[in-house]
């Protein structure tokens, strides 16, 4: 097994206008593990996550310095083709954003735009990925119904299936369970634990218990800086920094 980190972030600084959002981030994200980015609201965790697939390009007045290497390829270089880069990372956001089309097309969309249009192939893939996301049994008789007819929890699983269908190596998840009911949250969490064998997962959360349950590696951020990073056991049982101790103790949010 390859023990090289999947993603290496070096001296990453990110400004939006005059706001210094990320300050000198240095981070190695391990391959085929769940890395949890933990921290209070507004600490820059979502921005860090989005800079990995360059969704930060959508911000106005943005200035990024430093390097992010994925498979030894500097993704911040201006000439980098970004559609392939983004396809390599499935994204689950705080609330599901299904595409405005039916359930089947939501999964097939990503395959179609990358040129795979054969009906037989698509049927097989759609079924496969819906099964992967534990959604197949619930929707197999109504694949042609609009995705908007699903519940929020089902929509989030649909988004997971849709992301997996374009065959990424990395899954980015931004508080993927925050809008979901407990049952749907549990399904997503369990799915992540399975998926980490084949994918490198990076998840943002502010829920301590979720981090404890799921993480292999924890990164704690506060006001745009990484305060502490460590394997999960060490992080929770033996935190080194004062701020980490306070946060784990629930003293600030």
């Amino acid at each position: 097994m390859n023990n090289q980190p999947k993603i290496i972030i070096k001296n990453l600084d990110l400004n939006i206008g005059k706001l210094h959002i990320l300050k000198n981030i240095n981070l190695d994200i391990p391959r085929n593990k769940i890395t949890v980015i933990l921290g209070p609201s507004g600490c820059g965790k979502t921005t860090l996550l989005k800079s990995l697939n360059r969704l930060t390009d959508l911000y106005e007045d943005i200035d990024v310095n430093g390097n992010i290497y994925i498979n030894n390829d500097d993704i911040l270089s201006a000439k980098r083709e970004i559609t392939d880069l983004r396809k390599n990372m499935g994204l689950l956001s705080q609330r599901p954003y299904p595409l405005p089309m039916n359930i089947y097309d939501n999964i097939a969309y990503g395959l179609r735009i990358s040129g795979r249009k054969k009906k037989k192939y698509l049927n097989k893939r759609v079924e496969h990925y819906l099964k992967q996301a534990n959604l197949w049994e619930e929707v197999k008789d109504r694949l042609r119904e609009p995705a908007s007819s699903l519940s929020i929890g089902q929509q989030q699983r649909l988004c997971l299936a849709r992301g997996l269908a374009v065959d990424p190596e990395i899954i980015l998840a931004d508080e993927p369970t925050s809008a979901l009911d407990p049952l749907s949250s549990q399904v997503i969490e369990e799915k992540f634990m399975e998926l980490k064998q084949h994918y490198t997962i990076i998840m943002v959360t502010h829920i301590l218990r979720q981090a404890k349950r799921m993480a292999d590696y924890v990164v704690f951020m506060y006001l745009g800086e990484i305060i502490e990073q460590a394997p999960v056991k060490e992080f929770f049982e033996n935190p080194k920094m004062e701020k980490t101790k306070l946060y784990i103790g629930g003293s600030f949010n």
Binding site: T83, L91, Y97, L99, G110, I113, L172
Partner: protein, 285 residues
């Protein structure tokens, strides 16, 4: 204190009620006056024939030339405005998402154009036509009406596209879509009901405008058979008939107004039906 709040609430509710009533009353009055004056003149002959000799003196004939002319003109112009306006609206919402300053300038300019009176478009078109030696024709009218309704088309579509949350754009991008795929395959699908509304709003504006076609499309008693021929339009037909001193002809003007109103009513109903049909795939955020 509590009493004051209740009084305040009642005053504002009263004001809103009065304004709603004024609008409803004005609309009903317009409809009543054109129907009461025009309904007796509205015959099958009127909508199935072109003007015969002496039509404008109260003799036989109808306004089929103007009905067909108006439909040709407004459908042609709406089609052109749509194929030009849709890419612009998508472009400023998807490709230029990040450049808010430029987009705001574009929106400001379009709003200015929206506010320009249609007679100015007509005069502008006329100047160009004289320069190139073009005669009044259906084609010239279609081009000028296209210019007139393009700002409405773009801003109408733009207003709907603006409501698409950034999360949907991010979702589309992270599946490997390019900006154009995101625009045409995701944003457009999400906004089809609103786009249909914008198209029919433009069509309604195009079919009802008289000033822009006055110099450019001209007027004729014949149904045009090519784009280079002049064409009659309903608003001008109403204008010419209403200017007549003969009461019968004036009543026909009101009958023509009924025809125009009914066409616009049909357009509105169709837009509702189509919009509802495509509503189902829209995601409600």
């Amino acid at each position: 204190m509590k009493n004051f709040k209740i009084i305040e609430e009642n005053i504002f509710r009263g004001l809103m009620l009065i304004s709603s009533a004024i609008i409803a009353f004005a609309l009903l009055l317009i409809i009543y006056s054109i129907f009461s004056k025009g309904l007796s003149s509205l015959t099958w002959e009127m909508i199935s024939q072109t003007p015969k000799g002496g039509f404008y003196f109260g003799k036989e004939g109808g306004i089929l030339n103007a009905i067909i002319g108006s439909l040709y003109l407004s459908i042609g112009a709406t089609f052109l405005a749509f194929i030009i306006g849709l890419p612009v609206a998508l472009y400023i919402n998807v490709h230029l998402y990040k450049n808010k300053k430029i987009v705001n300038i574009i929106r400001f300019l379009l709003d200015l154009l929206w506010g320009v009176p249609s007679i100015v478009y007509g005069a502008f078109g006329f100047t160009i036509m004289i320069y190139f030696g073009i005669k009044t024709s259906l084609m010239a009218g279609i081009i000028v009406v296209t210019l007139l309704i393009i700002p409405i088309m773009i801003r109408g579509i733009d207003e709907v596209l603006k409501t698409v949350p950034i999360g949907l754009m991010e979702a589309s991008f992270s599946l490997g879509s390019t900006k154009s795929e995101t625009a045409y395959k995701v944003f457009l699908k999400q906004c089809i009901p609103g786009v249909i509304t914008a198209v029919l709003l433009s069509l309604g504006r195009g079919i009802g405008d008289a000033a822009s076609v006055l110099f450019t499309t001209g007027y004729t008693d014949n149904i045009p058979t090519s784009l280079s021929q002049p064409a009659a339009t309903l608003p001008l037909s109403i204008f010419f008939q209403l200017s007549s001193p003969i009461p019968e002809v004036q009543n026909r003007a009101y009958a023509s107004a009924i025809v125009l109103t009914i066409i616009i009513l049909i357009i509105s109903i169709l837009s509702r039906i189509f919009a509802r049909k495509y509503q189902k795939n829209k995601i409600n955020f």
